[in-house]
Amino acid sequence: MAVAIEHQSQTVDTSPKGIQVSPGLRASGPVVVLLGLGFLAPLLTVAAYAFATPKSFDAFRSFTLANFAVIFDPANTVWTSFAWSIAYAVATVVLLAIIAYPIAYGLHRLFGKWAGFVSVLFVFPLFVSENVRLYGWVLFFIKNGVLDGALKALGFSGGPELLYTPGAILFGMLYVYLPFMLFPMTLGIAMVPKDLIDAARDLGAGRFMIWREVELPLAMPGILIGMLLTFVLGAGAIAESKILGGQSVITIAQDIEVAFTYAQNWPLGSALALILVVIVSGLALTVLSKLDLDRILGRR
């Protein structure tokens, strides 16, 4: 009988044989191939440049740590650019989380049939390049601009001097990256079943407790991904400083740009870029692993 069954089982081809590709591996296929072809090569190139002779174009033909030596030279002040960029990124993440959360919450729970319209209102302006939108703020804040001009027309002495300051840069970053926090967050909050909030309230939990114990953890995928995106974008920001900030702060992205352009020092630019990637990914992944989504959501 054992023999018979084994024999029969070979005649049935319902049982998949051969190499079993797990559904996860299969689903990841297109992305992995894309990144393998489209990202691995540039990554290698940049790495090769980072270790090439300074100010040369000798990638893959020279190897030196000179670029890193320059960057880590105590006399070099480029670390301040890193520090500014990371600080801005962190501030952007924190402030945007606070700014966007009530809106995301409202979109999901309060605005009812208006929610779709309100969220689409946040979308329209995004079809305008961020440079142009930032320049709109210049027109608003500048002397004899909309704010100053309007105040003067109303008989006041004019608007406050906000433009071309580090604060203006932060403001610009909050403005430009708001959607990158808002939309993921809204998706995340939409994932919290109403039942659970009811249950928590019924068990005596107040607003804050419900928020901390139920809504926040269950909306975490959205919030974390929103934070991740805004952090990464904030760390690479440059236009805000150039347009609104009058370069009152030099961000690391600008240093990298200068290295590639005015300085024609690709190896230095590559080394800076690699260090930025290491810092950003180090920070992001550390935080992400502390807040492991799989664990938070009870997947594992």
Binding site: L196, L297, G298
Partner: protein, 370 residues
């Protein structure tokens, strides 16, 4: 005490009209809940007394869950008034009510372990972690969950395990009034029995008020001080189990507690008569019943009449079918155009195909109005 339930919403002076003798903990007056066009709860008036154990039964979709959700504060009534110890609480949110609901859908926190779920209400009231854990373990023992489940992902639990976590979580909260929405439906017989006992003990010891939805009539009968029966959004009867069983308010209630034998009857000059003209003996004349009524005889009061024995009402028939109900058997007896149900202990002398006389005593007949 069977409460006369009026189903119309009371419009003006709502609270003055229903002054209860014993102060009720919860009072519903003309409560309605409408979803779109449809009234899921349609004019319910009822008092729940302090320390009472009330079961609510009723067909699927009759509005039981909706009623409980309104009592717990998850949903506001579309019409009517809910008062807690005399205070109107229509708009008081769930966290401000001394009540707790064990959800039919359980509503467990999927991102928390079994222990964390149970400890949630304790965390809310800032009990120190060690104490919390001790209490959680105690409650887990009570619902028969092994201690090793404390750290288990609650989504990995079996259906019955989840249900017990939900129960333990509500016990942890320990409010004055507990609402249960089919809390034992996913449990096996033994466990159900054990937890029924725990619930009953808890109720007795704590003096809390329990409102309990169940589909198990046995549960409703064994555990409750009163049983309420819902139908199409209305509370059609509420009374002690005995009352509900022996004096159902109408045919719906009578039939709801199990398959019954029923006869349309009319009162003639010579007493009650069945539709087919056969005279029936029923005990007394119930009040408030018109000349047309329905006589109900439960399968367990219907019995096989040994040849020659006396019985108030007798019918000749043939056993058509028999089923085992565990410790008892149910027989379908064919007589005339109809099939009658007779329930008798296992091991009786009759079996399918036998010609038998069945009958019932006048005292066992139930007369209802529709």
């Amino acid at each position: 005490m069977t409460l006369a339930v009026t189903s119309s919403a009371i419009a003006a002076e709502p609270l003055a009209s229903a002054v209860p003798q014993a102060k009720p903990v919860l009072q519903l007056v003309g409560v309605r809940k409408v979803f779109g066009e449809f009234a899921a709860v349609d004019g319910v008036n009822v008092d729940f007394k302090e320390g009472e154990f009330v079961s609510i039964v009723g067909p699927s979709g009759s509005g039981k869950t909706t009623l409980l959700r309104m009592l717990a504060g998850m949903e506001g009534p579309s019409e009517g008034y809910i008062t807690l110890r005399g205070n109107l609480i229509n708009d008081v949110p769930a966290d401000k009510r001394p009540t707790c609901l064990v959800f039919q859908s359980l509503a467990l926190f999927p991102h928390k372990t079994v222990g964390e779920n149970i400890e949630f209400p304790l965390k809310v009231r800032k009990m120190p972690p060690a104490e919390r854990k001790a209490r959680a373990l105690e409650l887990m023992r009570m619902v028969r969950l092994p201690e090793s489940y404390y750290g288990k992902n609650v989504m990995r639990c079996s259906g019955g395990e989840k249900q017990r976590v939900a129960l333990a979580r509500a016990f942890a909260y320990d409010p004055d009034v507990l609402f249960f929405d089919e809390p034992l439906s996913a449990l096996d017989y033994k466990l159900k029995k054990a937890l029924e006992k725990e619930l009953k003990d808890l109720h007795r010891v704590s003096g809390k008020t329990f409102v309990y939805i169940t589909h198990s009539l046995e549960e409703a009968m064994v555990m409750s001080d009163r049983v309420g029966v819902m139908s199409r959004g209305k509370l059609v009867q509420i009374g002690t189990p005995e009352e509900i069983y022996t004096k159902p308010a109408n045919r719906f209630v009578a039939e709801f507690f199990g398959e019954v034998n029923s006869f349309e009857v009319r009162r003639g000059a010579d007493g009650w008569k069945a539709a087919d003209g056969k005279a029936l003996v029923v005990s007394g004349l119930p009040e408030g019943v018109s000349d047309a009524a329905t006589v109900i005889v439960r399968p367990e009061t219907m019995r096989f009449v040994p040849t020659g024995a006396a019985v108030d009402n007798a019918i000749q028939g043939t056993i058509y079918n028999e089923y085992s109900l565990g410790s008892r058997m149910q027989y379908q007896v064919h007589a005339g155009e109809r099939i009658y149900l007779v329930e008798a202990p296992r091991g009786g002398a009759v079996s399918a195909g036998d010609a038998v006389t069945i009958g019932w005593d006048a005292a066992d007949a139930i007369v209802v109005g529709d």
